[in-house]
């Protein structure tokens, strides 16, 4: 059975979708990703969809699901490299993917993920400091 590889890079998981997704493949990706986030304790997920040229409402929902799912497992999701046609289709379908961050390319996506996680860990430390001071 076809699967989309999920690569681990330190605290992040990297998914590049190189083929056109069909429903089964998308569902598998959703399950696999949930498993991987749980197993590795990843803090961020980066999904590259630059090769994806066609998207339907189902795919849009799956992408949204992955975002929300990772979020409740404490991993930020960044979607990178969306094609203009895909963006227009999603907007026309009324799927604005709230809760999922987006970036233009992998490089900017990585930067965004790092910034997000850094700012989170900083606030964590600050909070700890505050509590210890009291």
């Amino acid at each position: 059975m076809d699967r989309i590889p999920i690569l681990q890079m330190g605290k992040f998981l990297l998914v590049t979708i190189q083929v056109d997704l069909y429903d089964r493949l998308a569902l598998n990706l959703e399950t696999d990703l949930a498993q991987m986030v749980y197993k590795t304790g990843a803090r961020g997920v980066l999904i590259d969809i630059s090769a994806l040229s066609i998207v339907d409402s189902f795919m849009g929902r799956i992408i949204g699901n992955i975002g929300t799912m990772s979020k409740i497992m404490d991993a930020e999701t960044v979607l990178v490299g969306m094609q203009p046609a895909v963006a227009i289709t999603l907007v026309e379908l009324g799927l604005e993917l709230k809760g999922v961050s987006t970036a233009l390319n992998v490089e900017k996506g990585m930067l965004l993920l790092r910034n997000k996680i850094d700012s989170f860990s900083e606030t964590d430390i600050e909070e700890q400091d505050d509590s210890s001071a009291e």
Binding site: L79, M82, I88, V91, E96, L104, K108
Partner: protein, 288 residues
């Protein structure tokens, strides 16, 4: 007495042509700047020859008859080219009506002894030519409409430029009404340019949009959402007081979108997002 229209016309063809030409020349609205005398004569002769050849006693009452298709075709060609050359509808209409005058005058001379036959033939000829002039107008207007459509396309194409204001900042001034078709073009151009230039910020300037209703706002929100999905931030600038008023009155929620009053303040915001600063140079000897 029965009048054989086809024979009569054939016999009097040159006379009719002369009369027609005189009629056309006599009119003061003749446009010599648009068509030469020679050209007009050739055009008229061709049409008359066809008419004389095709018309007969049977089909003269049936204006829809397929026999007249070649004539309608010629007329369509003439009025089409006239529409594009810039003739007025009056001038084009006069072309056909002067032919009708010439024909009727000739008929009157030929059949003057028999009033009832004259009446009958006049009625027929006049009906036939009226139908021709209607089809002429139809194609004339169609020709004009084509011109308008082409211009609309051109305007839509040239009126959506995407400007690179700074490294990583795009600006898109929208001028004119924003309808669905135009939004599509704007959106496509903007998103394409974002991909090509890798810009992270896009400024949508709507100071040239005359009015914003709920539909236009919907289109704007769509464009902003699409840019966000691509991973870029979108700022809407150029919100005039009237637009702000209507937006509030219509209850449109723009709170999720960064909005600025002017392009300058939008640019300032974009700079701060990119952590850029504009500073006044302290040295006097700056070079341009």
């Amino acid at each position: 007495m029965k009048v054989d229209i086809s024979k009569l016309l054939q016999k009097k063809k040159t006379q009719i042509l002369e009369r027609w030409m005189t009629n056309q020349m006599a009119d003061e609205i003749l446009r010599e700047d648009l068509i030469s005398n020679e050209g007009l004569r050739n055009q008229s002769e061709e049409l008359l020859t066809k008419l004389v050849k095709l018309v007969n006693d049977k089909n003269i009452t049936d204006v829809q008859s397929p026999d007249f298709d070649p004539i309608v075709e010629i007329l369509a060609g003439i009025s089409h080219s006239r529409a594009r050359q810039g003739f007025s509808p009056r001038e084009t209409g006069f072309y056909i009506f002067s032919l009708k005058d010439a024909l009727l005058e000739t008929l009157q001379e030929e059949v003057k002894n028999d009033p009832s036959a004259l009446y009958e033939i006049t009625l027929k000829v006049s009906k036939l030519l009226d139908s021709f002039s209607i089809s002429t107008f139809e194609t004339f207007i169609k020709g004009r409409e084509e011109v308008i459509l082409r211009q609309t396309d051109e305007i839509a194409e040239i009126s959506t430029p995407v400007i690179r204001v700074w490294d990583g900042i795009l600006a898109l001034p929208i001028i004119g009404t924003l309808d669905s078709a135009r939004t599509q073009v704007v959106m496509e151009n903007l998103l394409q340019e974002i991909v090509e230039s890798g810009s992270g910020i896009a400024i949508l300037d709507i100071s040239g949009v005359p009015a914003v209703d709920s539909l236009v706002a919907q289109h704007l929100i769509k464009t902003v959402s699409a840019t966000r999905l691509m991973g870029a931030e979108c700022i809407i600038s150029g919100i005039r007081p009237e637009i702000a008023q209507t937006v509030v009155q219509l209850g449109i929620d723009l709170s999720n979108i960064i909005t600025k009053a002017s392009l300058a303040s939008a640019l300032k915001h974009a700079f701060s997002m990119l952590r850029l600063e504009v500073k006044k140079s302290t040295k006097e000897n700056f070079s341009l």
